[in-house]
């Protein structure tokens, strides 16, 4: 498969153009992971099909959120569901995050399986009491009597020019709470598999999507299109294998890391890119196994640096694989400021491909 992969690369020609770069990456991924399958699917369609299939399989699943019904979804993720399942199962709520999140939690206490949509996860701060106090902690507080099979989903992190109050990444906040499962898909396959797993899961799941990924197309295999397809929660995916440096990241940054890996490959550094998929439970085994192989680590995330997901990964690696490290761990995160609006400042406030490349080179002692 490796020969075939490089063959495709040579055929397409690496001219550095964005479009062909994406095609080659897609070809890489599809040639590596799947026997056949060149169908493409956007993340939006993947999420829509996942919710659709789970709703048709289990009548206890229902969708609740602002604009999910008649508006077809603020980002069109729930398009067509109202027509298909009716207003009894797709609820347009008033603008009352605390109220409808609590109602979802109460419904989950009583046995239903709600999928609660937040228009963005920034608005979940109005409902965070319910996500943490009445959903995450309930199974523990009631000693296993009351479990909460609920999914909280919505776009997380920065979009394009939406300002400080709409751009925060909540992965670190939710992932620090015991009792929650926190997932962050990247590709269409991730989105489908993880959302289906989340809806079937008997525990509260925070499902962090990314608005800028919604429109991106990814190749998808036949098995991923099967209605019983599920990805396991708590396992990371090695998107690209390498031997010189490990780059660990999640969500949109996986795309950037893969591009950075291409650039590093030109300079002779073979980077291994790990797509976390699951922030809690964190797949420490995969990360540590990879670091033990490459001895160098670069972690990338979009959120604020202090107490972030990367901090946890670095601590975990230092605790478990210290003697294998050949260089200090590198942490790339968003700037420690609320997100500015101006386009150039926003670009500076978020990690870019160049930042990841520089960090990887620093880790490999190849730069000043």
């Amino acid at each position: 498969i490796r020969e075939k992969m490089w063959g495709i690369l040579r055929q397409r020609g690496i001219d550095g153009g964005g479009l062909s770069l994406r095609r080659t990456r897609s070809a890489l991924v599809s040639a590596r992971s799947y026997a056949a399958g060149s169908k493409e699917m956007t993340v939006r369609d993947a999420l829509n099909s996942a919710i659709d299939e789970e709703m048709s399989a289990d009548p206890k699943v229902f969708v609740m959120g602002e604009e999910v019904g008649q508006y077809q979804g603020a980002y069109k993720i729930t398009k067509g569901l109202l027509e298909k399942y009716g207003p009894e199962r797709v609820y347009d709520t008033p603008i009352t995050e605390a109220g409808f999140t609590g109602i979802g939690v109460g419904a989950a206490y009583a046995g239903l399986k709600p999928v609660v949509e937040f228009m963005t996860f920034n608005f979940s701060m109005q409902a965070i009491d319910h996500i943490i106090n009445s959903a995450a902690k309930s199974n523990y507080m009631s000693a296993g009597q009351i479990n909460v099979p609920i999914v909280f989903r919505g776009p997380n992190g920065a979009a394009a020019g939406v300002g400080a109050q709409h751009s925060q990444c909540y992965a670190a906040w939710y992932a620090s709470v015991p009792g929650l499962k926190v997932l962050a898909p990247y590709s269409a396959e991730d989105a489908r598999g993880l959302l289906k797993a989340a809806i079937r899961d008997p525990d509260p799941v925070v499902f962090l999507e990314n608005e800028l990924l919604y429109g991106e197309s990814f190749p998808i295999s036949e098995e991923a299109l099967d209605s019983s397809f599920c990805l396991p929660i708590g396992k990371a995916k090695i998107e690209r294998e390498g031997k010189d440096v490990t780059i660990v990241t999640f969500s949109k940054m996986v795309g950037f890391a893969l591009k950075a890996a291409e650039k590093l490959a030109e300079e002779g550094i073979s980077a291994e890119v790990i797509n976390l998929r699951s922030i809690r439970p964190l797949d420490r085994e995969t990360i540590n196994a990879s670091v033990r192989k490459t001895s160098r680590l670069v972690t990338v995330e979009e959120g604020f640096p202090q107490h972030g997901v990367c901090a946890e990964i670095c601590a975990s690696v230092v605790e478990e694989s210290f003697s294998y490290l050949d260089a200090p761990v590198e942490r790339i995160a968003g700037a420690d400021v609320p997100m500015p609006y101006a386009a150039n400042l926003e670009r500076l406030a978020l990690p870019q491909v160049e930042d990841i490349v520089r960090a990887a080179k620093r880790a490999c002692y190849r730069s000043k």
Partner: protein, 423 residues
């Protein structure tokens, strides 16, 4: 003069007046879920109809209707059940105070002395499958709902035999068996959860086509009525016509904050009609009056007519919690309410109306005393949780791989690593 109030019904203005005259049967049946795009204005009319012809008005009228006919409000059996429940609540809470001062109980303990009429009045009308959601002052709600005194006392002592195996404590009484859905420390947190449980009851009936007429009763205090979640849930419960009863235990004090100091309009029952549901004010120190209102509210909910807001004027004889020195409340106010002790009132009623005699009531009191003593002994003798319990029950599915298509945990499937997708 046209005031703001005359403009409150713009939807029912002249252009739609003729619709008011049509009998409901002639209109297309609206879906009960507001998400339905059809018949939206019609349903708003029905809402207004329901609010206006609601049978639940100020409770004094209902009680007045009953009294002149000279028939009693309760039978002997019911009376003894109510009496026993209230004595259980009172003795249990008094015992909690004793145990706290002896060091057996710790943390935050919020006692319910004086408010027993509300709990007994409502919960004794519910079935086992109806749900109750409460706040941190939840010992007596759990007891009235059917959780055994032993289980509650052990939970308070932090022992493994408690209803939540010692993991919850005083403020988090959960019982799946008795549908006691907590026990929440944040005020207002229980209200949306209760609304969700009521939502489930309606969903089961209408989507899953099960035979379900369970109602949910949400108990909370006067301080909560200034919280945003309360209003959000009043709105949604009325919007979706959920089978829920919002019971405000207005004891006039939120720790040390008087209700009158913190609320622009202290009459909480008025907030119900603002959202399209009946609002009722009842004397919460009189269990029979509470019971009458509760009967109407519960049957309204069971019939599918939607939520009710019941404000019970009650009083807590002790401080907010056992750590509260209770200095801000006036002694005269306390004395006034102590004279209206619900247990004494019911005792008087039962004896005067020849439903029971002193002897029977004394037997009940003795029985409850023994029960509570025994609960304490049981809790004392129970072991503390084992060390392994610390890490248990964080997740229902701890291995974190989710449930596979066959309905079993994926990690139990030996072919899991060959799985549905490469990782």
């Amino acid at each position: 003069m046209a005031t703001a109030f005359s403009a409150t019904l713009p939807l029912h203005g002249s252009s739609q007046e003729n619709r008011l005259l049509l009998p409901p049967t002639r209109l297309p049946p609206p879906s009960s879920f507001l998400g339905s795009t059809r018949s939206l204005p019609i349903r708003r009319l029905n809402h207004a109809h329901a609010a206006r012809r609601s049978p639940v008005v100020a409770v004094q009228e209902i009680v007045k209707e009953k009294k002149p006919t000279n028939s009693l409000l309760i039978t002997k059996e019911e009376g003894l059940v109510l009496y026993e429940d209230m004595i259980l609540g009172r003795s249990f809470e008094d015992m909690c105070a004793q145990m706290y001062y002896r060091g057996k109980m710790f943390g935050f303990v919020h006692l319910y002395n004086g408010q027993e009429a509300v709990s007994t009045g409502f919960i004794k009308l519910l079935t086992k499958s109806d749900s109750v959601v409460s706040t941190y002052r939840d010992h007596v709600h759990a007891l009235s709902k059917g959780v055994s005194a032993r289980a509650v006392m052990s939970e308070l002592f932090g022992k493994v035999t408690g209803c939540c195996r010692g993991q919850g404590g005083s403020m988090h009484m959960f019982s799946k068996e008795h549908n006691m859905l907590g026990g929440f420390a944040f005020i207002g947190e229980g209200i949306p959860v209760a609304t969700g449980a009521a939502f489930t009851s309606k969903y089961k009936r209408e989507v899953l086509k099960q035979d379900c007429d369970d109602v949910t009763v949400a108990f909370f205090g006067d301080g909560t009525c200034n919280n945003g979640q309360f209003y959000e849930c009043l709105n949604m419960a009325a919007l979706y016509k959920l089978p829920i009863i919002f019971v405000v235990e207005n004891n006039l004090w939120a720790i040390g904050m008087s209700h009158l100091r913190s609320t622009s309009d202290p009459e909480i029952w008025k907030k119900g009609p603002a959202f399209g549901m009946p609002g009722v004010h009842v004397d919460g120190m009189d269990v029979l009056k509470v019971r009458e209102v509760a009967k109407e509210a519960v049957s309204r909910a069971r019939r599918g007519e939607g939520p009710t807001l019941v404000e019970c004027e009650t009083y807590r004889f002790r401080g907010h919690s056992l750590a509260d020195p209770d200095e801000l409340r006036d002694a005269a106010e306390k004395a006034k309410y102590a004279a209206r002790d619900p247990i004494t009132a019911l005792k008087k009623y039962l004896i005067e109306n020849k439903l029971a005699n002193e002897g029977e009531l004394k037997t009940i009191e003795k029985k409850i005393d023994d029960l509570v003593e025994e609960a304490v002994e049981f809790a004392d003798a129970s072991p503390q949780p084992g060390r392994s319990q610390l890490l248990e029950n964080v997740f229902a599915d701890p291995k974190g791989f989710g449930i596979g298509p066959d309905g079993r945990y994926r990690c139990e499937d030996p072919k899991f690593t060959e799985g549905t997708a490469q990782v």
